[in-house]
Amino acid sequence: MRIYLYILVMAGVSYAIRALPLTVFRKPIKSRFIQSFLFYVPYVTLAVMTFPAILDATQSPISGALALVVGLAAAWFGADLFKTAVVCCAVVFVLEFFVV
């Protein structure tokens, strides 16, 4: 039951975030600070959530660390979302033949 309440709150907030600007604000955001803040938020959040959590996601922190390095390189050289994700998985899959 608790889990459904959590999901309800998540879904309600997620939908409100997406629907409110689209239905209410018909003009551009005026505040440059808020505009800039919202611009930076996704990148900071994702970076904070990625490290050091990726080290604990795998059986060995070594494979998590290498997946991070290879993922960073792949994305830097233009791999899209899907390719980067696949490369990270492959690194862990192969490396854990040896390190686990």
Binding site: L22, Q35, S36, T45, T50, F51, W76
Partner: protein, 244 residues
Amino acid sequence: MTANTTRRQELLQGMRDGVPIGLGYFAVSFSLGILAKNVGLTPLQAAIMSLFNNASAGEYMGLTMMAAGATLWEMAVATLITNARYLLMSCAMSQRMDPAMPFRHRLFMAFDITDELFGITIARPGYLSPWYMYGGMIPAIPGWAVGTALGTLAGSILPLRVVSAFSVALYGMFIAIFIPPARKDKVIAVLVVLAFAASWGFASLPVVSDLSDGTRTIILTVILSAGAAALFPRKDGEGKEDGT
């Protein structure tokens, strides 16, 4: 050309462009399902969560909060912070709407504003086509929800090493979202490095490491983003185009 054939063409084109998105979602949401299982969700709960959230980082954060036994209020704040970028995308989309379009389309389009669907929809010239976006949703929504449910189911059947490998898919996706803009923009690049360092510091330091993962993420995101916004405000228009 009648309005109906245009709609149909828009819908079909959206479906075509949505197929690779749906496939990508399927693979990535699989690892979300593995996490959902570890937190104690059933496959049905995981599917419902994905069906109504359609947010990778947001759901990841939500599961982290569930695992930490967060209050519903904390969950709401965490979801708001993690999904704040959709607010910006929704703002950008609101500037490209046909004033004559029936209002209900705004409500339906809002349901699946994701990095990818926002990207393909806003990339087309002129007023946004709701039918094109609905076409994109047709493969994307089931791909995401079914992938999550299967990850929850198969997470226990698959060998540990395979589960371990799939677990980094989400992080790979996160990396692919923040690296391309970091490469183009020094402020974002420095922010990413600071975020890594601060996140590591917060996870190891006494006192702050006792806070939940979700709370630490919220605190760091607000401090770093507000600091960057104060020191390096974006020029007009710059903040709206890079949301994909």
